[in-house]
């Protein structure tokens, strides 16, 4: 490349060029200098307030003091969930001088296992600054004292008094109140509340603890501090006190709840008792249940595995989330529908042991001869309900089922409710469109009616609905089940003919107090008579003579029982379902009898329970502790 050389370039030119270029360079430098001063002025004057705010928010930090969680108490003020003061030990990462040595000392002093040390190391790596990392909570006093004494040699170790949730009822209230636990990453993402990741702070994870979270949580306090970027405390500014969460009163009667839980014993089942005037749920028990206390301390993998693999499903709230064919328990409801549509309760149907529909024979449980409505309920005669149901058609029965609460989703503060199905022809047509696996043909057939009339077939309900049904029949009031708060006023009438209700209640009286199906479960309390209706729900289809009355536990029929008491002035109603209990009269009604006895005569109820618990090998608390020890042993065996 040759650059142009128009004229000779002399040293004179050179010095001229130099001066010119130097002027340009000086000008450029001055311009940059002006830019720098201008920028400085812009940042320091025009944007001053903005940056001052940012500097201040850098300087002052709020260390969250978690609020105490509100208590949950029962209708009499008895505690269901409280806070127990406990000891905890945290590590402040920034103040740790020699993490390994400190951890080794702590491990020795507190007897931490390898799994724990692992977790602490992991959390220490992720944490930084002033945000504490939990070593252990619920520390026994002797270990806490041991750490406190050696504190001068353990910089960064922070022993504190904290609070842990305690459920005096243990498993009895497990499904009802749920449990608390440290917030998960997703929960924090959703709320973005720094309180959630404060060590020792727990949120409701299930049941009422979860649904009442905002009422129970309270307002965190704060210690305003000046912190360095690495979280070192420089000085403390004035603190802001925390406000404990509000106490929440439930409709539940804690003692009744606990009694019912104990009474179900080793069975897999549920029991609901409601006040049939107000709708207050006095007890809502699902057994077997997990112990919320052990969940609140953080549950081990072994325990979780054992719970989730248990065929009796301790993790499932059977009151709300298990659906059963109601079996004969809905016959009183059917009887109300029949009367509403003009069937005379005096009209008699002959039961030869079944009912013939075309070329199919629908079986009854016995040969009841000539029965009227009263007797049909007492004896649980299928033939009567086949015949009458067929006469009026199921589309006229279904509205009554819904009116009494079947298929209804209640306005309760619960995490989930399975509300089942009350079938009719419209439902079947719709289902045929959506899900042909359940429904084979679109039209409602007479045999569908027959099956539904005795509580089988498409009809499925949950135990709470059964209890509400019993309560509405008992009081004739449109009760809505309530869990929170104690109601004073009776619910409004449901709008059924009192005479119709009386007929049905009479039949239910006969079931227990006459020569009905549950005669063995008569209350032994003078002046208090229980009325009820048994039910047996098939778990699998009847094959030949196999009726689900024998064989494998998991194929046995469910036993159901709905009831109310006292007969002359109904106050309490409820439902008991014992899974695979073979029959309502055999498995469910005795539970109902004892639970109702507890409401009227506690010593008597406790005496009969004591006898039973002796057979089962100890009280619920004792068996629960044994189970916990077994879990611990299994976990230890796995680690070893």
């Amino acid at each position: 490349m040759k650059l142009e050389n128009a004229k000779r370039f002399t040293s004179v030119h050179q010095s001229l060029t130099f001066s010119r270029r130097m002027a340009i360079a000086a000008g450029a430098q001055t311009a940059v200098g002006a830019l720098l001063i201008g920028r400085l002025g812009w940042l320091a004057v025009a944007e001053n307030q903005h940056y001052q705010l940012l500097a201040e928010s850098n300087r002052v930090q709020l260390i969250i003091v978690p609020p105490r969680r509100g208590w949950i108490v029962d209708r009499n003020g008895k505690p269901i969930a409280i806070n127990r003061s406990d000891f905890r030990v945290d590590l402040i990462p920034d103040q740790l001088e020699n993490p390994e040595q400190t951890l080794r000392a702590l491990r020795e002093l507190m007897g931490l296992d390898a799994e724990e040390v692992d977790r602490i190391l992991r959390e220490l790596k992720a944490a930084h600054g002033y945000r504490p990392v939990q070593v252990a909570e619920n520390v026994p006093f002797d270990k806490y004292a041991a750490v406190t004494v050696r504190l001068p040699e353990l910089p960064g170790v922070n022993p504190m008094r904290g609070f842990s949730r305690f459920y005096p009822g243990g498993p009895a209230v497990g499904h009802l109140v749920g449990y608390v636990g440290a917030a998960s990453a997703e929960e924090y993402e959703k709320e973005k509340n720094p309180l959630l990741i404060t060590p020792g702070f727990k949120i409701g994870k299930e049941g009422l603890e979860q649904t009442l979270e905002q009422r129970l949580r309270g307002i965190p306090g704060g210690q305003r501090v000046e912190l360095t970027a690495r979280g070192k405390l420089v000085r403390e500014l004035e603190p802001k006190p925390d406000r404990s969460g509000a106490a929440v009163q439930l409709a539940i009667d804690a003692e009744l709840q606990e009694y019912a839980a104990r009474r179900i014993g080793e069975e897999s089942g549920s029991c609901v008792i409601i006040d049939c005037w107000t709708g207050d749920i006095l007890a809502m028990v699902s057994m077997p249940a997990y112990d919320p206390n052990s969940f609140s301390d953080g549950i081990g993998r072994t325990e979780w595995k054992m719970l989730s693999e248990d065929p009796r499903q301790p993790l499932r709230n059977k009151v709300l989330n298990s659906l059963y064919p109601p079996g004969s328990t809905i016959k009183p409801m059917g009887a109300l529908a029949l009367q509403l549509h003009g069937v005379d309760p005096k009209e008699r149907v002959f039961c030869p042991g079944g009912y013939r529909l075309g070329n199919r024979f629908f079986r009854c449980l016995g040969r009841h001869g000539s029965v009227d409505m009263h007797r049909a309920i007492a004896k649980s005669c299928n033939t009567y309900f086949y015949a009458m149901g067929h006469r009026i058609g199921y589309d006229k029965i279904a509205p009554m089922a819904r009116k009494l609460g079947l298929g209804q989703k209640f306005g309760l503060p619960v995490v989930s409710q399975s509300y089942g199905t009350v079938p009719d022809s419209a439902w079947k047509a719709q289902k045929f469109k959506n899900n042909r696996r359940v429904v084979e043909r679109p039209d409602w057939t007479a045999s569908d009616t027959l099956n539904a009339s005795i509580g089988q077939g498409f009809l499925i309900v949950n135990p709470l609905q059964l209890a509400v049904m019993a309560g509405r029949i008992a009081s004739g009031r449109d009760i809505q089940p309530g869990l929170v708060g104690v109601r004073k006023n009776a619910a409004p009438p449901i709008g059924l003919e009192p005479k119709h209700l009386e007929t049905v209640r009479g039949g239910m009286w006969e079931v227990v107090n006459g020569d009905g199906t549950a005669g063995a479960s008569r209350l032994q309390i003078p002046g208090v008579e229980m009325c009820g209706k048994t039910g047996t729900a098939q778990v699998r289809k009847i094959v030949g003579s196999q009726r689900g009355q024998s064989g494998d536990w998991k194929y046995r029929d469910h036993g159901l029982f709905v009831f109310f008491a006292p007969f002359d002035n109904p106050r309490y109603a409820g439902a008991v379902v014992i899974e695979h209990g073979l029959g309502g009269a055999r498995a469910a009604a005795p539970v109902a009898k004892d639970v109702l006895t507890f409401l009227f005569d506690r010593p008597k109820a406790l005496a009969s329970l004591a006898a039973l618990e002796e057979q089962w090998g100890g009280s619920l608390a004792e068996r629960n502790e044994r189970r916990a020890n077994a879990v611990k042993a299994a976990a230890a065996a796995k680690i070893a």
């Binding site: 360079a25 430098q29 320091a44 001053n48 970027a229």
Partner: protein
């Protein structure tokens, strides 16, 4: 400047105006370092003071060097520094993720620092030797480009983008004042604009991140953008007169990273405000102006070009650092000379000033005191 008969001649002949400016800037730096250490002379302020006094003495000592000596060492010095750069590259000491030092046991030599001086001297010497008529010829350009390009490439490999850029800028400035045709700057300028996306792809991850976050610091306020964000907060929150000496929360609570080295300006301005910042910028402006005067008044072409180049070195040091600290340039790791803690930058600047003082002494046949 200082008119007193009792002051001995050699002392009176020193450029006192410059020395006072330098001492003023250094004092601001030492005060800031004292504050950055939370009000303590350790670990920075004392050491910095000693370093500055030592190198200032060296610089003043250098002022008696004759121009011909400087001319003679230009090429050998360049060659030695270049060899040292290659050694660093070959057996370089790994520290801070970058290979920049030669560890001599007692002292760690950072050859790229010396290259800032060497490039100025070697280019000044080269253009002095070049006949005036050849300045528009190809042979006026390619040797200079090679003299700049080789060390710049070696330094980029270290990798030290900030120093490589500075050496390029300094060299180009010398070429510019030497009178190389304007087209020579325009065409590569356009080429660079085109090449930026390509170079961007070749940069190290951390270098690329610095550029990304320079363009949008808030995109990553806790990561790489943290430096710029916190620095702007420190400067902006200082206001007109600052938060008061020893009261800067950003630096004292460690929110400002590198508050005693690259971001020392932010530490200073947080406490002294716009007022203090402007004062410091003006002090540097006077130092650079003094250097530019030396260049303009120089009698020889070598002195002209060398003085201009050395002034440019100081200018680029200060302006790149301040642009970076105030969020106008990516974070490239150039310290603020005489203020930031660290010996290398002090040494480079003092050597620059020493040579400038030597050149200035040659211009004066007699003392100004007479």
């Amino acid at each position: 400047m200082i008119s007193s008969a009792i002051i001995p001649q050699p002392l009176a002949r020193l450029p006192w105006r410059l020395i006072f400016l330098v001492l003023g800037i250094a004092s601001i730096g030492i005060l800031t370092l004292y504050s950055a250490a939370g009000g303590a002379i350790r670990p920075w302020a004392l050491k910095q003071g000693i370093t500055i006094l030592f190198f200032l003495t060296v610089a003043i000592g250098m002022s008696w060097t004759s121009e011909s000596t400087i001319k003679q060492v230009a090429f050998p010095m360049y060659a030695v520094v270049l060899v040292m750069l290659i050694i660093v590259e070959a057996v370089g000491f790994v520290g801070k993720g970058a290979q920049r030092w030669i560890d001599l046991g007692i002292i760690r030599l950072q050859p790229s620092e010396f290259m800032k001086l060497a490039i100025v001297l070697v280019l000044a010497r080269f253009y002095e030797l070049l006949p005036a008529g050849d300045i528009r010829k190809w042979r006026a350009i390619w040797p200079a480009v090679a003299l700049i390009g080789v060390p710049a490439a070696l330094i980029i490999l270290q990798p030290d983008l900030g120093t490589a850029l500075m050496i390029t800028f300094i060299g180009v400035t010398v070429m510019f004042v030497a009178g190389v045709p304007l087209r020579v700057f325009m065409i590569p300028g356009a080429a660079v604009a085109v090449a930026i996306p390509v170079v961007y792809q070749l940069l190290h991850g951390y270098q690329r991140r610095r550029i990304d976050t320079f363009l949008d610091p808030e995109s990553d306020p806790l990561g790489a953008g943290y430096h710029i964000t916190q620095s702007k907060i420190a400067i902006g929150s200082g206001g007109v007169f600052g938060k008061g000496y020893l009261n800067g929360s950003q630096s004292h609570l460690d929110y400002l990273p590198e508050g005693h080295t690259d971001f020392v300006f932010a530490t200073m301005v947080e406490e002294w405000g716009l007022f203090g910042g402007t004062l410091l910028i003006l002090a540097f402006a006077f130092v650079i102006r003094w250097g530019m005067r030396v260049s303009i008044n120089a009698k020889t072409r070598f002195a002209q070009l060398a003085a201009a180049g050395l002034s440019a070195t100081i200018f680029f040091y200060v302006s790149i650092n301040l642009l970076m600290v105030m969020g106008l340039a990516p974070v490239v790791g150039v310290p603020l000379p005489l203020v930031s803690f660290g010996g290398s930058a002090v040494m480079t600047i003092m050597l620059c000033l020493g040579i400038l003082m030597a050149l200035e002494r040659q211009q004066r046949t007699t003392s100004r005191l007479v």
